[in-house]
C-alpha cells in the first residue's frame, strides 16, 4: 500500500468515525432545540411564574410571593366551580366516548360493503375544526330556532334553554366532544378487534355463547390495553376543554363560560385570568393545579380500566 493510499484510507476512516459518533446528534438536534425552547422551557417556567405576583400590565412590579397564589386559588369559589364543571364534563365525555366507540367498532368489524366510506364517515368529525364545529353546534342548540329543540318538540318536549342550565349546558358541550372523538377511538378499537383470533369466537359459539356475551367476555377483555390507552388520551384531552365552552356562548363575556359560570372549565378559567385580566401568576397556578388534577384523574381512569377482566 502506498503512502497516498493510506492517507486516503485514514481520512475515510476518520470521516466515518465522525459520522457515526456525532452525526446522529446533529439529526436529533433540531427537534430538541426547538422543543426545549418553545415546549419544555415554558412548561417548567410555569411553576416559577406561579410563585410570583405577576401581571402583564405591570411587569416591573413582578415579585415572588411563594405559595400565595395557591392559597388564594384553593379559597377561590370560581376555581372550585370551574374544577367541578371540568370533572362533570370529563365524566360526560369520556365514558360515552369509549362505550359508543366500542359499539361502532363492533359494527364496523362485521363484513361490511363500502367499508372505506363508513370508516371515513366516522372519522369526519375528528378532522373538522373545533372552532367551526362549536359555532355550528351552538346554533343547533339554540333556544328559539335551534334544530335540537325543534326535534325535541316533535316528541312533545318543551323548549330547552341549553346554555342557561348547568346540566343542559354540560350535556350540549359533551355532545360536541363525543361527536368529535368517538369515531377516532372506534378506529383504534377496530384495528385491535381485527387482530383477535377468530378461533376464540368459534369456540365460544360452539359453547352456545350469544353475540352479546362474546362481545363482553371476549372482545372487551382483549381490548383492555387499547381501552386503557384511550381512557388516558381522552382524559388528558377532556380535562382541558377550552374551545367548546368559550365558543358555546361567544361574546364579550365568553371567558366566564355562561352568565353564572355554569360551564366554565378550569382551562377556560386559566384563560380568563391569564388573558382577560393578565394575571399571569394566578393563571400559572391554575395551570399547575390543572396538570396535577389531570394526572390524578388519568391515574384513576387507569385503575378503573385496568380492572377489566381477562377471561
Amino acid at each position: 500500500m502506498t503512502l497516498i493510499d493510506r492517507r486516503v484510507v485514514d481520512r475515510a476512516a476518520r470521516r466515518h468515525r465522525w459520522d457515526t459518533r456525532f452525526a446522529p446528534y446533529g439529526y436529533v438536534a433540531p427537534y430538541f432545540l426547538i422543543f426545549g425552547v418553545f415546549g419544555l422551557f415554558p412548561l417548567l417556567y410555569t411553576i416559577w411564574v406561579s410563585l410570583q405576583e405577576r401581571n402583564l400590565l405591570d411587569e416591573n412590579a413582578a415579585h415572588l410571593v411563594w405559595l400565595d397564589n395557591y392559597t388564594l386559588l384553593l379559597a377561590d369559589p370560581y376555581f372550585w366551580n370551574a374544577m367541578g364543571n371540568t370533572m362533570s364534563l370529563w365524566l360526560l365525555t369520556t365514558v360515552p366516548q369509549i362505550l359508543f366507540a366500542l359499539g361502532i367498532a363492533a359494527l364496523l368489524n362485521r363484513k361490511v360493503r363500502t367499508r372505506t366510506l363508513f370508516r371515513m364517515g366516522v372519522i369526519l368529525p375528528n378532522i373538522t375544526s373545533v372552532a367551526a364545529v362549536t359555532i355550528i353546534f351552538a346554533q343547533l342548540f339554540g333556544r328559539d330556532f335551534g334544530l335540537v329543540n325543534w326535534v325535541l318538540e316533535l316528541f312533545g318536549a318543551g323548549q330547552i334553554d341549553w346554555q342557561a342550565g348547568t346540566a343542559t349546558s354540560h350535556v350540549a358541550i359533551a355532545v360536541m366532544v363525543v361527536w368529535r372523538w368517538t369515531g377516532y377511538h372506534a378506529l383504534i378499537f377496530l384495528a385491535s378487534m381485527q387482530a383477535i383470533s377468530p378461533s376464540l369466537y368459534e369456540a365460544a359459539t360452539l359453547d352456545g355463547a350469544s353475540g352479546w356475551q362474546q362481545f363482553w367476555r371476549i372482545t372487551v377483555p382483549l381490548l383492555r390495553p387499547q381501552i386503557i390507552f384511550t381512557t388516558i388520551i381522552a382524559t388528558t384531552g377532556n380535562m382541558r376543554l377550552l374551545a367548546e365552552p368559550l365558543l358555546f356562548n361567544p361574546g364579550a363575556a365568553a371567558a366566564t363560560g355562561g352568565s353564572d359560570r355554569q360551564f366554565q372549565t378550569a382551562a377556560l378559567y386559566l384563560y380568563e385570568q391569564g388573558f382577560t385580566k393578565y394575571d399571569f401568576g394566578y393563571s400559572s397556578a391554575i395551570a399547575v393545579v390543572l396538570a396535577i388534577a389531570t394526572i390524578i384523574v388519568a391515574g384513576l381512569g387507569y385503575l378503573v380500566t385496568k380492572r377489566i377482566q381477562t377471561e
Binding site: 452525526a23 427537534y31 362485521r110 369526519l124 372552532a131 355550528i136 346554533q139 387482530a195 400559572s284
Partner: protein, 295 residues
C-alpha cells in the same frame, strides 16, 4: 401503511366449525347497515347543515320547520364574508402557518426518526424516552411563559409566533422512528456504509425515499392539526391579523346576529381540511388504524 389490516379472502368452510367461523366475523345484516348509516348521517350532519345555511338567505336560519336543503345563495354569502371581514388575510395566514409547520415537522421528524431508529449513539434511549414522555404532557399548560417569551421577542400578534412552536412535534419523531424501525432493513444501510456513504447521503438516497408513505401520512395529520389549532393562535394573535380559527371566533363573538355570515365563514374555513380529507381519507384511516395517531 394503508395496506395494514387487509382482510384475507373470504373462505367458506363447511360443518359446525365453518358455521362458527362465519359467525365470528359476521356478515353485516340490514340492522348493521341501518346503524352504520345513522352513525354516518350523525357524523356528517353538522357540517352539511352549516353548508345548507351558507347557501340560504339569512332568514332561513330562523324558519320553522328548519330548512334542510341547500339553496342558491352560497356565492352571495361567501362574497359577504370576504366583504365584511378580512377573511382573505385569515385564509392566507392559515395557509402559510399550516404549510410551513407541515414541511418542517415532516423534515425534522424524518431526520430525527431516522437517527433514533437506525443509528447508535450514547443517550439514545434516554432521549427517546424523553420524547415519549413529552407526548403525554399537554404543552398548552406552558402557555403563559410562552406568551411572555413571544412578547419579549416582539412576536406577539405575528404569525411566526404561531409557526415557531409548531415546527417540531414529539409525536412526529416517534411516528417516523416507528416506521423506520419496520420499513428499512439494517443490511441495506450497512451496505451503503461499506461503500463509504456518509449517513446524510444514506438518509437522502435510501431512508427518505423509503419513508415517503409514512411522511405523507404525518404531513396530512400535521396539516389538519395546524389548520384547526385554536388555543395558542387565539392567545398570541390579534384580531387584525388572525388565522381562520381565530377569525371565526372573532366573528362569532361580535355583536352581529347574522349567523348566516358566521356559518358561511365556518363552512369556508372547513373546506381546505375537508378537501384534504376527501382526497386522502383512505390514508388517514390507515394511519389511525395502524395505531399511529394521538389527539
Amino acid at each position: 401503511m394503508t395496506a395494514v389490516l387487509e382482510r384475507p379472502a373470504p373462505v367458506r368452510p363447511t360443518g359446525p366449525a365453518g358455521k362458527a367461523r362465519r359467525l365470528a366475523r359476521r356478515v353485516a345484516g340490514p340492522w348493521t347497515y341501518a346503524a352504520l348509516i345513522a352513525v354516518l348521517a350523525g357524523s356528517a350532519f353538522p357540517v352539511y347543515w352549516s353548508f345548507v345555511v351558507s347557501s340560504q338567505t339569512p332568514d332561513a336560519i330562523d324558519s320553522v320547520p328548519p330548512v334542510l336543503v341547500p339553496g342558491g345563495h352560497l356565492f352571495e354569502n361567501i362574497a359577504r364574508v370576504f366583504d365584511t371581514t378580512d377573511f382573505a388575510l385569515a385564509m392566507m395566514n392559515s395557509i402559510i402557518v399550516s404549510s410551513t409547520v407541515t414541511v418542517s415537522v415532516v423534515l425534522f421528524s424524518t431526520l430525527a426518526g431516522f437517527a433514533f431508529a437506525k443509528m447508535k449513539f450514547r443517550g439514545r434511549n434516554v432521549l427517546l424516552l424523553l420524547i415519549i414522555a413529552t407526548q403525554a404532557i399537554p404543552t398548552e399548560l406552558g402557555i403563559i411563559p410562552l406568551y411572555m417569551m413571544m412578547s419579549e421577542f416582539g412576536w406577539a400578534g405575528e404569525i411566526h409566533a404561531v409557526i415557531v412552536p409548531g415546527l417540531v412535534t414529539a409525536f412526529g419523531v416517534f411516528f417516523m422512528r416507528q416506521y423506520f424501525e419496520r420499513a428499512i432493513p439494517d443490511e441495506l444501510l450497512e451496505a451503503g456504509r461499506m461503500d463509504g456513504c456518509h449517513s446524510l447521503r444514506l438518509f437522502w438516497h435510501v431512508a427518505l425515499p423509503a419513508a415517503r408513505p409514512a411522511a405523507a401520512v404525518l404531513g396530512l395529520f400535521t396539516f389538519m392539526q395546524a389548520w384547526n389549532d385554536f388555543f395558542w393562535p387565539l392567545v398570541v394573535l390579534v384580531p387584525e391579523n388572525p388565522t381562520v380559527q381565530t377569525a371565526l371566533s372573532t366573528l362569532a363573538s361580535g355583536y352581529t346576529t347574522d349567523y348566516t355570515l358566521v356559518l358561511t365563514a365556518a363552512t369556508i374555513g372547513t373546506v381546505p381540511v375537508l378537501a384534504v380529507f376527501l382526497l386522502f381519507g383512505r390514508q388517514i384511516v390507515g394511519g389511525i388504524m395502524s395505531g399511529a395517531v394521538k389527539g
